[in-house]
């Protein structure tokens, strides 16, 4: 089952400064009748246990030197995030694995996103597709811009790198999703997206998105 994600868009000022950075995304319809925020299926739980066995101390220590996580560390530095303080997605997850003694289940959708991240090194986020307008892209936040389109949404600081659709910012790059845009019990369609810096191959990102799609489309 081939998956060719939409590369998304990038505002000119971002493209100029961070050439090659893209936001591959795809839309999927998870199996109905199963809550995305509810408990995981036995198959997903078994996969998490299997990955917990594969990720032990030595590999956790070495993760920062592996090619894909290292590329995200560099991007973090280049956009003003210190990866020793704000951990990259994979490093944060494997650190939790060490502290918790395994990859713990946090609900079906969270587990599927975690499996894709652990397997490929490429992070994937999910948004409720029905609350989005058009493709997602990367741009800078504007002065006084609200974070999301919910009433009472907090204002963003100007000049932050955000994920946005055609109408509003819906997530901070490598940060929080805007209020009201995270998938919930009513979500029928998901927009999955990743952040692909130059140096991370299409293969990794497509594999991450494909894993999410196959696990959710198969009901886990």
């Amino acid at each position: 089952m081939e998956l060719k994600p939409d590369p998304g868009w990038c505002a000119p000022e971002v493209e100029r400064e961070l050439p090659g950075l893209s936001l591959p995304q795809t839309t999927i319809e998870p199996v109905l009748g199963r809550s995305l925020t509810g408990g995981s299926t036995p198959a997903v739980l078994a996969r998490l246990r299997h990955l917990s066995d594969r990720w032990r101390g030595a590999r956790v220590v070495n993760v920062r030197s592996e090619a894909v996580p290292a590329t995200y560390r560099v991007l973090y530095r280049q956009i003003g995030l210190d990866p020793e303080q704000v951990r990259t997605p994979l490093e944060a997850l494997v650190l939790e694995r060490v502290l918790d003694g395994g990859f713990l289940s946090r609900g079906l959708l969270a587990d599927v996103l975690a499996i894709a991240l652990i397997d490929t090194g490429a992070p994937v986020w999910a948004l409720d597709d029905e609350r989005l307008q058009g493709p997602l892209g990367l741009r800078l936040s504007r002065e006084g811009e609200p974070f999301g389109r919910c009433s009472g949404a907090p204002d963003l600081r100007q000049g932050r790198l955000v994920i946005a659709d055609s109408a509003a910012s819906v997530a901070i790059l490598f940060g929080a999703l805007a209020p009201g845009h995270a998938p919930d019990k009513q979500t029928r369609r998901l927009r999955l997206f990743s952040v692909q810096p130059p140096g991370v191959s299409d293969l990794h990102v497509e594999e991450a998105l494909w894993q999410c799609r196959s696990l959710l489309a198969a009901g886990g």
């Binding site: 220590v61 995030l81 600081r157 000049g159």
Partner: protein, 167 residues
């Protein structure tokens, strides 16, 4: 002033940043400034890579600096001055980790030499101890002990033994 030759020089195991101070707002960048920022980003990539390899190679005896770098306020496009600051902090951190790795290597070199002397002449190093982790091991202690306890002590039979001590 826009730097035309920005590079890092390694002298006696220490990186020295050679870049003139510049700070021009990012949004009005001319091609020269853009080139300088590209150079800084390349330096950041290389420094981050070297730092990670050094930390992984010398784990658990070296660690990155504990104190947080001054926050730049979330993900954003950095100005030339900010990129320079990130680069300089990486240079400092790399120096610090290199110093720790060097000190650690010196401890291990001395411990190995001592262990060798203990192995060659145990009777001259009665009850001397060397931690296994100080000679590249994980746990346990090398110790010169008398063979057969009190009898060996009286007879002068000494040997070098590794006691496990591993959890």
């Amino acid at each position: 002033m826009v730097p035309t030759d920005t590079r890092l020089v390694l002298t006696d195991g220490v990186f020295t940043a050679q870049l003139d101070a510049v700070d021009v707002p990012a949004r009005h960048a001319d091609p020269g400034e853009r080139g300088a920022r590209d150079t800084l980003r390349t330096q950041i990539r290389r420094l981050e890579h070297e730092l990670s390899m050094l930390i992984v190679g010398a784990f658990p005896h070296v660690r990155p600096r504990d104190q947080a770098a001054e926050s730049l306020g979330g993900p954003r496009l950095l100005s030339l001055g900010e990129l320079e600051r990130v680069r300089d902090e990486l240079v400092d951190e790399l120096r610090d980790v290199e110093r720790q790795a060097h000190e650690r290597a010196e401890i291990e070199r001395r411990s190995r030499a001592r262990l060798q002397r203990m192995a060659l002449e145990p009777a001259h190093h009665k009850f001397a101890r060397v931690e296994a982790r100080d000679v590249g091991g994980i746990c346990g202690v090398w110790q010169v002990r008398p063979r057969f306890g009190l009898l060996g002590m009286l007879a002068g039979w000494w040997e070098l033994k590794l006691s496990s001590g591993c959890p």
